[in-house]
Symmetry: C2
Subunit: 338 residues, 2 copies
DNA sequence: ACTTGGATTGATATCGATAACATGGATGCA
DNA sequence: TGCATCCATGTTATCGATATCAATCCAAGT
């Protein structure tokens, strides 16, 4: 009797309960009109049969998947993870599920990923950043679903935006550093053509220095992203060799800033007395390391939460204009700077 | 002329190309038999029409979704992120996509999540850990797809396993600590009933101490998971108050170990001279912090890679027995211990 | 010339839930 | 009592790609 029997369908559940398949379908929905006892009978029969709702059929017929597609540069980044978690929590109460993909900081890869994700017919798509290939832009524009660009303030948004100006945020940090007396200020970041947010931050750094009439040559490129702790340490080593009189350094993220800090510790260089360090992103490590890290809070979770709100509003028809949520990053001054 | 026209289907592409829908379908597959020129014509027409392949229909008819469902406790954990990334990379070459959900270290939440994921009809499901609710076990057993439990060695596996013994790994660390002369050894971890891997690690810790005839009372519970840096620092504070003569402490993860280390630094307690510290998981931070962290490498990426291999083998019919891949964690001895 | 076989393409039915419309019975109100 | 409503449920057709079977054509082998 080891016949491979096909898994039960709604029709099977309907037969067992003595109702129509349509009633079974309704019983599995939240707010549809089925009597309490019918619903319980249906669910009991389903449980007894081991029935598992088949959303592939539901998706096709109802033209809804309850997916929210999301692209992030890296799955290993705590900032983006925070955003995704808040986004996921925000939309899950409406039964929406995150379909996540990572681009590895590569716009060509992003294009492929976006195409893949759109085939799954998500209800909306959230992308990290505002720089895309022309084809990716076209795919997003024509997708017929809400598009939300995050972690950036694109000049020509495709649809909605929940983000902040990376350049401006760093600029404010430079302004602060200058105001407390630092003059020889360096920047540690990745290659120009990969990490677009990192590039924006560097642009803000340079613009600020120019504005203050300071030397803009202290730029250390730490290679292709992700720029993490190891790269930060390596970059600090380079910085100390090439510009030993540097007074302060701003890093593209807290991770690289922490790496830079450890390099100073290994070399017995006093932070912040000999050199000040600032990071970006307010990662957990920055608050707890010794000395604690001056940084910029970009409100990663809030980006996710606001994006979720925006998506729900759009899907509820409460918003027909492109939404624009601007986050205002905060300077967090701690022990690695005066 | 602002009529809302429905998005084009394969039938539209077929009409435009002058072939049958079936041929269009074939043109969109990798290895199906279509002539080169037909395929190009089809793809050109599709591009001109802005056609986007609709996988909801494909999923239903072909009974394949190309999803691999994955549950992890937290999306913000670098270890699990490493596993997921390696898994994703491993299966993506076969066109398989990860459908990710997180359980927040809660088996009831895991049950809900597993049910949600199974409705999407994945080709296989990967779960983190070997402890589940009875209903979750039943759902997984009856799903009719490969089930892979990871990051653990369950006594009664549901299907396949790619993992290691958390207890044994910590036991080896204790053995090492005893061999170099530590006697008063403490453990910092989470609450017993949430983080099952953390609980296993603590069990291994206690078993090892018992084996060596040492005091097992130095246990600090840092609250519900995730146990991160802040919790590690708080726990170290408690430990120093309650057991000031402790010689060494093993933490449930590198993050809590780093937090504990920073607490020592803030208090001017010498590590490792006054107290030794060990972590778990070989996170990036452990290799780069000063002093660097003694830890256990659980090979998170390898778990993902092996899981991917196993899934591909099963889906290719190359494996009909339940697979059992045992990872052997490595002790990594660094500066926070002698 | 005839068979065989591979390559390419087409016709038809189908995957399983549900949108849209229809129906019967109960309830409310004048 | 009569008519409008609402609630619970049923009927039918359908979402869009593709599994399956069938047909055509051309080259190769005998």
């Amino acid at each position: 009797m080891d016949t491979i029997r096909k898994p039960p369908t709604m029709a099977d559940v309907a037969r067992r309960t003595g109702v129509s398949p349509m009633t079974v379908s309704r019983a599995f929905k939240r707010d549809s009109s089925v009597s309490q006892e019918t619903r319980e009978a249906v669910l009991r029969a389903a449980e007894e049969l081991g029935y598992v709702f088949d959303s592939t059929a539901s998706n096709l017929r109802s033209q809804r998947t309850d997916f929210i597609a999301v692209t992030i540069p890296s799955i290993n980044n705590a900032n983006f993870a925070d955003t995704v978690r808040a986004l996921s929590d925000g939309v899950s109460e409406r039964g929406l599920q995150i379909l996540l993909g990572y681009t590895n900081y590569d716009v060509a890869e992003e294009e492929r990923l976006i195409e893949q994700l759109l085939r799954r017919k998500p209800e909306a798509i959230v992308v990290t950043g505002g720089k895309h290939t022309p084809r990716a832009r076209k795919l997003l524009s024509n997708a017929g679903i809400p598009v939300i660009e995050t972690w950036d303030l694109p000049e020509e948004p495709i649809g909605h935006v929940v983000g902040f100006s990376n350049a401006l945020a760093v600029r404010e940090m430079v302004d602060h550093f200058v105001s407390v007396g630092y003059r020889k200020i360096a920047f540690i970041g990745g290659d120009a053509d990969r990490d677009t947010r990192g590039t924006d931050r560097r642009a803000g750094f340079i613009a600020a220095l120019v504005h203050h009439g300071l030397d803009t040559s202290r730029l250390i490129a730490a290679g292709p992203p992700p720029i993490s702790m190891r790269e930060g340490a390596d970059a600090m080593r380079q910085l100390l060799e090439r510009f030993p009189d540097t007074e302060a350094v701003i890093c593209v993220s807290d991770l690289s800033a922490f790496g830079a800090l450890t390099e100073c510790q290994r070399r017995g260089i006093a932070v912040p007395d000999r050199i000040a360090i600032a990071g970006f992103g307010d990662y957990e490590i920055g608050a707890i390391c010794v000395p604690s890290l001056t940084t910029i809070n970009a409100f990663a979770s809030e980006i996710g939460a606001k994006t979720a709100e925006l998506i729900l509003d759009v899907l509820n028809g409460k918003l027909d204009q492109p939404g624009r949520v601007t986050i205002r990053p905060d300077l967090i001054l701690r022990q690695t700077s005066r």
